[in-house]
Symmetry: C2
Subunit: 104 residues, 2 copies
């Protein structure tokens, strides 16, 4: 087993809520704050904190717009974020494969 | 997407170090403290804390033995732990499949 199989897991994505955000943004392209909040059943403050971590990492982009007069916060994954998410998923797949080896 | 796809991730296993411990115990059957420490590159205190979380969850069993006069701490996954780990891996696989759907 490689020494860094688990160490190489990207903590910025690994937290449950951030894994949820990155998964949704990867599948849906972009999401507004309200949709993320509802889909992931997070409080506003909690979601805001996780979004900030991902934004600071350069993994997502946050844009403030309006729908009519209602403000809307749109999130989308950046190229860096999409690549980091792909790497993260590959890392999980490596771990899953490792755990499915027969006992030696 | 199911509402609870991410919520259903078992936090007791999800933390990087504990995922490492459970993976190693699943693959190798049982491990002593020193091997876990070395393989996962954790400090003694850190490894001890994670082992306690897993032991309190009923996921692993910790046995103190001796090799000659040297004390040895052996860890092995319980049936509950093996099942919880299997469920955890299935949950990851569900998430991975979800992220690989084409955009709708």
């Amino acid at each position: 087993m490689g020494d860094n199989l688990f160490d190489a897991i990207d903590e910025k994505i690994h937290a449950k809520a951030r894994l949820g955000i990155m998964s949704l943004l990867t599948v849906q392209g972009e999401c507004d704050f309200g949709t993320l909040k509802q889909e992931l059943q997070l409080t506003e403050g909690n979601l805001g904190n996780h979004i900030r971590v991902l934004e600071n990492a350069g993994y997502i982009q946050v844009t403030k717009t309006f729908t009519g007069k209602r403000p809307k916060t749109l999130c989308s994954a950046t190229e860096l974020g999409i690549q980091a998410f792909r790497d993260y998923i590959e890392q999980l797949e490596r771990i899953i494969r490792m755990t499915q080896l027969p006992k030696s």
